[in-house]
Structures are given as structure tokens and as C-alpha cells.
Amino acid sequence: MEAYKAKSIDEVIRLLSQFEGKGKVIAGGTDLIIDIRNKKVKPEALIDISSIDELKTIEDLGSFIRIGAAATFTDLVESSLLDENLYGLKKAAREVGSPQIRNRGTIGGNIANGSPAADSVPPLLCLDSTLILRSIKGEREISLRDYYEKGFKIGEDEIISAIQFKKPEGRQILSFAKLGLRKALAISRLSIATLLEIGGDNRIKTIRIASGSLGRHPLREYKVEEFLIGKDFNEEVINEAVLVLKEAMEERLKGRATLPYKQRAVERVFKDAIYGGLERLKVVEA
Amino acid sequence: MKLEVVGKNILRIDALSKVTGRALYPEDFYMEGMVYGKTLRSKVPHAYIKVDTSRAEKIDGVIKIFTHKDVPNNKHGVVFKDHEVFCSEKVRRIGDPIAFVVAKDRKTCELALENILVEYEEIEGVFDPIEAMKDDAPKVHGDSNIVYHFKIRKGDVEEGFKNSHVIVENTYKTHMVDHAFLQPEAGLSFIDEEGRITVIVATQYPHYDREEIASALKIAEDKVRLINANIGGAFGGREDISLQIHLALAAHELKMPVKVVYSREESFLAHSKRHPLIMKYKTGADKDGKLLALEAEIIGDTGAYASWATNVLRKSGVHATGPYFIPNVKVDSYAVYTNNPYAGAMRGFGATQVPIAHEQQMDMLAEKLGMDPITIRLKNMFKKGSVTATGQVLTESVPLQECLERVVEKMDFPVGEKEAY
């Protein structure tokens, strides 16, 4: 195995092309190093991107925010751009692993590894995020939703260079809640992110819901969204939404031993996300 | 009498070396000319085996591969000699040691392990201790899987239940637990300046280890020296032999320093577990909540080897009543072989599991009697002078009542009130 500590994106994509699919990008290494040692992956070359500054910046592009793929969870937690309405993404980042893992693990790695339990992904799905991919052939964009739901692939010669999304508008609030078996270092048993906006007439104006560990990959809960949109926001409606969510889960997780447990647990996690978001909104608007 | 240490906070003598990172654990020792060892372990729970090391022996850098043929006395074990240093004919659990490779470095050890051919002729295993107790169950060792049966007979339980106003019957199960001490097993062996086989290891029983090594190698105990390095936690999990004999054998044969460091995974495979128990309980009390009878059957799954099973299941039996006086008691506790990971010592040694059963029984008796859980305990608990189910008279301090009363006070627990039920 060869090893390269790359200094620029250009160097990375040149190396990826040179190794024709046998090169593996390493950033935090918090999953990859374990896989290499267990001989699950046997790359010919490791290409380290953990110290490329242009891959680590979190940028405010006016109505959009762009997060470099090699930004660590600690970078996200410490970014002032993710306070206020985007706090759900920060909360998800803060609940990843441990301080040691957050200092190394990256948002790009969370996506590229395709874990169903990737904590940062449900909030990014709620934001309708776009993945920006680079290769020597150039740059292209795919939506995060298509990456998960339509199985769009990241090419072997491509690197995720950034994740981009539109900032929430008006009174939209992004929220996140997770159930782990303990406080730290817990892989999510299930997680829910919501983007919610309640209009002046108390009707639900915006609702996007994404879940983690309730399917083979993180996904949007369209049926629940359809149920909620335009409805008067009250406890009864939220309770009914929980039933819709349970039904959707059942279809996807039928036969799994964890289903009964998750069906009981999901109610609280979903409500934590919804009401936690509204609590946060009060703080943001105060 | 003036006490110098008891009742005082004193500084640990080893704390300074530990906070500065200078404290040496077995894997921290390095020697000139040191080579590495690694263990080949069974991948199946119950099988006859044939081992072919010839291909692995030809690998450049492999110094020697040890199997049962190289061990003068292949048997060991803390109570019963039911472990083999290396499995000779049969493996009895996943993780059973089959061979030990010594090579110039760790990577070569791994390569050699991959090249040892083990032919497994799998046989039916038994994984449920209740199944294992049946006559027609597959046998792990010899002709019975029942390693141990401990009995308590006090008074007449039939009579006790007949006179009981309420009876509660339940079965409780606890699971296997690993100690997960933070420092995986490691060791270094060499021949010291006086010609003694020396093993640096982290162990709870250096004297037992020395005895077991001497016995396995058929040499005098004074030719074996154990150095106990710093121990990164143990909790009962370092009471059995893991790598001690492998290391001693290698240094003895090869006359060179040999080092072994287990991974976390191998550590899980190598050492004992807490016994999972199945506890069938029947408890009776009179109208006032006075306990009259207890009958318990406790079955401990000791896995493929006995280790401390006799002592652990005896302790479970002795503690089966909990800290309560009961006039009529019948307890049967068993330790049973299965093809599961082997169980041995772990913090509490069998006394840890039974409270799940006896305390839940108390709560349920209280509920049936419309009594609160504190009152029923206060009526029955051991006091100075109480006689336990095994006939022990508690002559020293028994401050249980005082303890419970303080808890009640601190919790502001509404004893006797409706909300306490």
C-alpha cells in the first residue's frame, strides 16, 4: 500500500485517477482504518485529505452554505454559521461519537461511508443538500436525496469536495433528536431530523422529516410530510403523524427483530425533534 | 489501638508512575532479540480437529509452531484440569486455542496463522444449559454435562408453602458478561540470568500461574518465575490461564524472548465470562409478610470449561435467600457445561446475579399483600444473631436495617402510605 498526504484537491483527483479505483481517500480515518486492519478493504493507495484547507472551510455564500467535505464534526460544532435556524445540524454533529472522534471524523466521510446511522445525514436531507463531486473530468453535483434514495454513485475517481444547501428561511427551524444506548460513543439506534415552519395562522407551512436507522439508509419520510403539510399545528395532529410514521417504518422494517422496539421509541424521538426545534426557535427569536 | 491506615485516605504507591505514563504493563516490555507469538483459535464451537502446520512452517520468518504434541502435560485448570493448553482432538468452544505460532514479527505470525490448515469435523453442540442437563444431550467433556450440584435443605418447604398466605413463582435469567478490563492480555517470556523460565504477565494469581506452567512443562516450580507487571484491570477475568503457558513453553524451547499482545477481540475470546444464570424461584409468606418458605433452582451455564464454576454456583446457592431469614429453604444450584464461551470468576462470584431474583420476589410478595416494599424487607431482614439458610449464625455487625432506614429517610420514602405500594 502506498500513502500520500495530499496538499490540494487537484492532487487528490490526479491520484484517484492514477490509481483507477484502487486508491482510497482517507480523512478522519475513524471508520476506514478499522476496515483496513480487518482486511475489509485493501486499497493500493491511501490519499489523505485531512489537512487540505480548501476542503475544510464552512462558507456563507449568501443564501447558501457550503461545507467542505473534510470539515470535522468539531468544525461544525464550533461554526457560528450553524447556530440559530440550523442548530439541528450542529446538534447532530455534537452527538457524533466522542471528542476524539469528532476531532477527526468528517461530514464527507459520514456520507461516503453510507452508514444507515450517520448522524449528520438526516439534517442534511431536510435541507435538500447537494453533494459537489470533483474528478479530473471536472465538477458535478448530485442531490443527497438521489445519492441515498436512487442509489446515485460517487465515482471511483471522484471525491466529495463539499456539501451545499440553502439556508432555512423565515421561521423555518432545523431540529434533530437521536436515541443511542448511552450518552457518548453510541451509534444511533434511530434518529430524526425535522425542518418545521408554522405560519401565522398556526398551520404547518414547511415540513421536512428525515430519519436515520429506520431503513437501509437515511431517508426522507414523505408520507409523514404529506400528512402534516397545511394542517393546524397541535398535539393531536402530531400524535396522528406518529402513527403515519410507525406505519411507514413497519413497511420498511417488517421482520426485523428491532422493529417493535423502534416503533415504541420513535414517538419520543420524533416529538423531541419537533418540540425541541420549537423551543430552539424561541431562543433564536428572543 | 491506633490505626495507621484503616479509615484514612492514603495515596496509592503506584499513582505517580501511572499518571506519568511510566508504569509498565506487560506489553510495554521490549527485549533485545525479541520475537512474537500468536494463537490460532477455533472458529467453531464443537468439532473434532486435524491440524496441519506444514505449510505455515515453511514461511520465511516463522520460528516454530507449537501444538498439543509439544506440551509435556497438556492439561490445566484452576479447579478441574479440564482445559487443554492446545486442543488435541476436540474443540469445545469458539476461541479454543489450537496452536501457537512464534515468528520474527507480528505480520509473519498473522500470515502463518492463515496458512495453518485446520480440518474441522463438526459435531452437534449444546448451547442451552437446561438442554445440556438432559441425558441425551451432546457431551462437552466425559459422560455428563453437570459439573456441580449444590444443595441446601432447611426445615420443610412443603409445610412452609402450605402455611403461606401468598406465594410468588417466577423464573429469572441473567446474561453473560465480559469483564472488559481495559488492558488486553499481553506478556513477555524469556530465560533469566539464572536459567529460569520467566514470564512477565498481568495476572490475579502469579503463584497459581507458576504452578500451572511447571505442571504443563513437567519441570520444578523453582525453575519458573512469574513477574506480575502492572495490571490494567482484571475483575476476575485474569484468574485463569490465558497466554502464560504458551509463553513459557516457547521461551523454554526456543531460548529467546517471546512477546504476545492480544487484540481486544482475542481478549474477548480468551478469558472467562460471568456465569449466566437461570433462576427458578418460589417464595411464600404469611399474612403479615413474614417469609415462610423459599425453593430455588439455579442453573449456571459454565460454557466449555469449569473454571471457578463450583465456587460460583455454591455462592449463588448460599446467597439465594438474600439477606432474609426464612425458616424453610430448599436450594439446588447447578453448574453445567455447554459449548458457549467459558464462565468463571467475575466481581461478586455468583452473589451478583441472585438479587435480581430474590429482590423481585420480595417486591411481588409485598404487592400481593398490599404492603410496601420497605416494610416487608424490614420484617424479614438479617439482624445480629440471625441464622442463615446454611446455618451460619451472624455474630458480627449486621447493619442492614440501619442502612435501609437511612435510605428511607434520605429518599423521604412514604413507608406505609398508599403511594409506596
Binding site: M1, E2, A3, K5, I26, G28, G29, T30, I33, I34, I36, R37, L46, D48, S50, S51, T74, G97, S98, P99, Q100, I101, N103, R104, K183, A184, L185 | N9, L11, R12, D14, A15, L16, S17, K18, V19, T20, G21, R22, A23, L24, Y25, E27, D28, Y30, H179, A180, F181, L182, Q183, P184, N230, I231, G232, G233, A234, F235, V261, S263, R264
Partner: protein
């Protein structure tokens, strides 16, 4: 083999490392810094914690070549018998050391915390050591020790 340069405990090193070598192997085997402990090899236990460019990392989850150009602090660089660091002293005084295997990682996690936040709350202390397991169940003493060290350092 790959040549890398890095600074460990204030000293510059240029070393030849294997491509598949991890930072923990470099520190233990090449530099003899055995205060770096290996407990799980997958980032769960934190025994191998070191401070890399000011932040705690699991040295079992960093490849040696990735550490090129970085500054590493291990327990050996924090303080020794003659020049003990207040966090180390607090661990001794409070009785926060039992088997000692988690101790170097715990102390470095505390160091990284107090460098950034000299006056942490108990919750912040617990959060800072949440990636470090102690199996002797000594967390309360460890939290107390860090709390005491904070007072001494202020």
C-alpha cells in the same frame, strides 16, 4: 517506507514509517512512548488518546503518515516525577487512579479541555472525558480530580 517529520513532546523527529503504520505504533514502537495505551483499536476506549495540534485524537485511528507536520503531546511530555503537571498531581491526590490504564488518556483529555476552557462545569468535564472509558468505575474521582486541577491552574 515513507519519511515523515513531526514534533513529539517538543522534540522534532524525522522518521521512516511503514505506510500501514498507525500513529500509536509510531509513538510506542519507534519512540518508546509506552504511556500511550492500546485498549480496543477502534476508537471506543480512548486509552490511546494523545493531543495532536491542540486537539485530542485516538492515536489508533490516525495513520502515522497523516501526522506529517503535526505536533503531538503524549503523557510523557506533560510532566514527569521532577516536574509534575497539576492535572497529574490532582489525579494522585484525589485518588483518581486505579488500574491506571485509562489514566494517560484521561489526563490528556482533561488537558485539552482545560486549555480551551479553564473553568468548565461538571457537565463539560464529563463531556470532555466521554471518549475515555474507565473500567474500574472511577469516574467520579476522575471528575473531581479535573475539577481540582482547574482550581490549581486558574
Amino acid at each position: 517506507m515513507k519519511k515523515i517529520s513531526l514534533n513529539v513532546n517538543g522534540k522534532d523527529h524525522i522518521l521512516e514509517v511503514e505506510e500501514d503504520m498507525r500513529l500509536i505504533d509510531l509513538l510506542r514502537e519507534k519512540l518508546g512512548l509506552t504511556g500511550v495505551k492500546e485498549g480496543c483499536s477502534e476508537g471506543e476506549c480512548g486509552a490511546c488518546t494523545v493531543i495532536m495540534d491542540g486537539e485530542v485524537v485516538n492515536s489508533c485511528l490516525v495513520m502515522a503518515f497523516q501526522a506529517e507536520g503535526s505536533s503531538i503531546l503524549t503523557i510523557e511530555g506533560l510532566g514527569d516525577e521532577e516536574n509534575i503537571h497539576p492535572i497529574q498531581q490532582a489525579f494522585i491526590d484525589v485518588g483518581a487512579v486505579q488500574c491506571g490504564y485509562c489514566t494517560p488518556g484521561m489526563i490528556l483529555a482533561a488537558k485539552a479541555l482545560l486549555d480551551k476552557n479553564p473553568n468548565p462545569t461538571e457537565e463539560e468535564i464529563r463531556e470532555a472525558i466521554s471518549g475515555n472509558l474507565c473500567r474500574c468505575t472511577g469516574y467520579n474521582k476522575i471528575v473531581q480530580a479535573i475539577d481540582r486541577a482547574k482550581e490549581v491552574l486558574r
